[in-house]
Symmetry: C2
Subunit: 189 residues, 2 copies
């Protein structure tokens, strides 16, 4: 639970999902990782094309240090204590044609993944602070795929393990009022 | 519930969410629509920029016929019986800079929205079969925003209201094996 509130019947799992930086350095059981990835697998996508791929490393495995090294320093400093690091990749073509929805579809899969992780008591933290070109090169991502984001997943840890600057940011973020992002009819600037 | 099965501890809401075409033509209470949109609102995004916008029409309101007319005929033929039509729009810049994640972030918001809709007993159906240029023009979407997708939400209806061709497709879709979309280490072609 967080100190967030809202005025609708929103399920708590959406309201209290947030993206901490303090993780406890524990390992994730394989069964939990499979469950979390399974949520992404069942996401909807245009033509059911399923353009998403999830490359992962589990803390301490043979890929862990490499996966961590692709993050920008502002992220790797705390993500080192996560349990799993993921790179989300999407296929930019549908057969011969360019895909218009590959990033949007991969984002939906990430949304599902984040909620299932929360349901299991984990926290997930998406990151765009990534050396994307290095990920593509080092992980052999083909030209017709885009590296969308990195995701750290783990159990929340003690904020005192963070720098003072990051400790100050270790609170659930707010959101724009609903009326600014969702409304009837025409676009409002 | 559907006839889908999986081999993980996946929550039923992910497994049994699917995208029907037969809706029952009922109205959606405002409180439910607010709850569903609120789930999208609380999605994560890069720098918490919240690049998403959701323009909606409720069946029979002053925007309904216009919103329906932007769908390609293969979609409008069944979406006419949904309760709400949404256009998901994302901001392609973050201040002065191009945004790398606007579609991915908007997709995460769509994923949250879809799951909250399922939790309330609704079904949602994302569509890329849309006259996107017409949406942008008719709804006044500025140049630095992209129309990502349309979404129909409603209560599931009787499949016999669909054409025979669509009735034959009115079954929950399958997915690729998990090992094809999520695995450790390097990209696998």
């Amino acid at each position: 639970m967080t100190n967030r509130t809202t005025d609708t019947g929103l399920h708590n799992v959406f309201l209290h999902r947030w993206s901490p930086r303090a993780f406890d350095g524990s390992d994730m059981p394989d069964a939990d990782l499979a469950t979390i990835l399974d949520a992404a697998r069942w996401a909807p996508s245009a033509m059911n094309y399923q353009p998403w791929r999830f490359l992962y490393a589990k803390r301490g495995d043979e890929n862990w240090a490499r996966f961590l090294s692709f993050l920008l320093p502002g992220n790797s400093v705390w993500a080192v204590n996560a349990s799993v690091l993921l790179y989300v990749i999407s296929e930019t073509v549908m057969g011969e044609r360019p895909s218009r929805t590959h990033s949007f579809d991969a984002g939906a899969a990430w949304g599902m993944l984040a909620i299932q992780a929360s349901m299991l008591g984990y926290h997930s933290h998406g990151m765009a602070g990534v050396d994307f070109a290095k990920v593509a090169e080092e992980l052999g991502v083909p030209e017709n795929f885009k590296v969308e984001a990195a995701i750290a997943i783990g159990r929340m840890g003690d904020p005192s393990t963070l720098s003072e600057a990051l400790q100050a940011r270790e609170i659930p973020s707010t959101r724009k009022p609903r009326a600014e992002i969702a409304y009837p009819g025409n676009f409002r600037s």
